[in-house]
């Protein structure tokens, strides 16, 4: 098993692409080591066992716990890093957060046109070719090879949470239930950290989730219910006409 991550780099100019990619992957390795729910020596596990004094928490751990706390508050308790079984599980935050940081490393290294996909969560920058946005397909919840929708994105992020692969890895923090009314939720936002937390929350929140997410930073939400209805939400248009696509 493993989280597949791919980076598609176009029009790389100047920077050492390999060094940038190495640095980006290092970010993910570090996140894995720190937030692993299964490595007994991860900071997360040590924190769970009460072995890490508050003052000794890493900056990364503080950042992630802060993000989680904010999401918990904003979602009325739906998003929760404390599992119904009493464990500490930051997976709902860490994947998107780490992948966004990896993307930030690539940007900082000077890469302009790339698409990073970490376990189905996507960050896009620039264009795959001049005049065209990145086309990000959303997987159909019942068929890994079928497409539910395609979103065109230049600089943005697309995150999907679903019950179809890892099973009940998401729970409703309010009830502790892992029986969720949605099978998948996809969120488009400017930043993957935001998109991933929102997608996880929408999945747990249910049919009220898409509208809620739009109020909390989602540019677009696509959710699929257990009876295969598609619920979409997007903010009301703020200004004039959107750019047309040829």
């Amino acid at each position: 098993m493993g989280l597949p991550m791919s980076v598609d780099v176009r029009r790389a100019e100047g920077p050492d692409v390999q060094a940038a990619l190495d640095a980006a992957f290092a970010v993910l390795h570090q996140a894995d080591e720190r937030f692993s729910t299964y490595r007994p020596d991860s900071e997360l596990r040590r924190l769970e066992r009460g072995e890490v004094p508050e003052d000794d928490l890493s900056a990364d751990m503080r950042e992630v716990l802060d993000l989680a706390a904010r999401a918990h508050e904003e979602s009325g308790g739906v998003f929760d890093v404390c599992t119904p079984e009493g464990r500490l599980d930051t997976n709902g935050v860490v994947k998107g957060w780490a992948a966004q940081r990896a993307a930030d490393v690539l940007v900082a290294a000077g890469l302009r046109d790339f698409c990073l996909n970490a376990g189905g969560d996507v960050v896009t920058r620039g264009e795959p070719e001049p005049g065209r946005a990145w086309d990000v397909a959303v997987r159909h919840p019942d068929d890994p090879q079928a497409v539910l929708a395609v979103l065109s994105v230049t600089d943005g992020a697309v995150a999907t949470s679903g019950t179809y692969e890892r099973g009940a890895h998401v729970w409703d923090g309010r009830s502790g239930s892992r029986q969720l009314p949605l099978v998948a939720a996809t969120v488009v936002a400017a930043d993957l950290t935001v998109a991933d937390v929102l997608a996880t929350t929408v999945l747990a929140m249910g049919e009220d989730g898409p509208a809620w997410a739009v109020e909390h930073g989602a540019a677009t939400v696509i959710a699929v219910t257990t009876d295969r209805r598609v619920i979409t939400a997007a903010p009301a248009a703020v200004s004039g006409e959107p750019a047309a696509r040829a």
Partner: protein
């Protein structure tokens, strides 16, 4: 500043393997750590294998891409403004056309066009639970738009191997 055309896809599996493996073990009681590894594919540029520290090696089975084309390199079309638009390509899916358009200005959403679904905006639409299986390669090749990547809950390399994303990466 040297120009280094590099058009390729780098596949990495293994990072955060711990997270995936734990989740799977906890909730499905299935196998533990299986093979994970990394393959780096690329054309016209550097190609160095990435290995996943702390994982058990192996490969996700991706093959190297040899598209040989570097059409994406070259001219810079002065896109330097702070406004970026997510333009909705209206895509015909088995469930009807889906479209979205979002404009980001300096990272903030500044304009959004309502998502078009097979029914009018805001209405729910039922999708086919038993979608016709689509060969990944065909889907990529024949899709009306170019699918560059796929968003989905893809946590395991097994799932990745049968995914559309895998097919896209293989196309390199």
């Amino acid at each position: 500043m040297s120009t280094q055309p590099w058009r390729g896809t780098l596949i990495f599996a293994g990072t955060l393997a711990a997270i995936a493996a734990t989740a799977a073990a906890r909730f499905s009681g299935s196998d533990g750590l299986a093979a994970s590894g990394a393959v780096h594919t690329g054309t016209g540029g550097t190609s160095t294998g990435q290995s996943a520290a702390g994982t058990t090696g192996g490969s996700t089975g991706t093959s190297s891409g040899t598209s040989g084309s570097s059409s994406a390199t070259g001219t810079q079309s002065g896109t330097t403004s702070g406004t970026k638009t997510i333009v909705g390509s209206s895509v015909q899916t088995p469930y009807g056309p889906v479209q979205v358009s979002v404009t980001f200005t300096s990272g903030k959403v500044s304009a959004v066009q309502a998502l078009q679904s097979p029914n009018s905006h805001g209405e729910s639409v039922r999708i086919n639970q038993y979608a016709l299986p689509v060969l990944a390669k065909e889907a990529v090749a024949a899709n009306s738009s170019n699918i560059d990547t796929v968003s989905g809950a893809t946590f395991t390399s097994q799932a990745y191997a049968q995914s559309l994303q895998s097919a896209i990466d293989k196309l390199g």
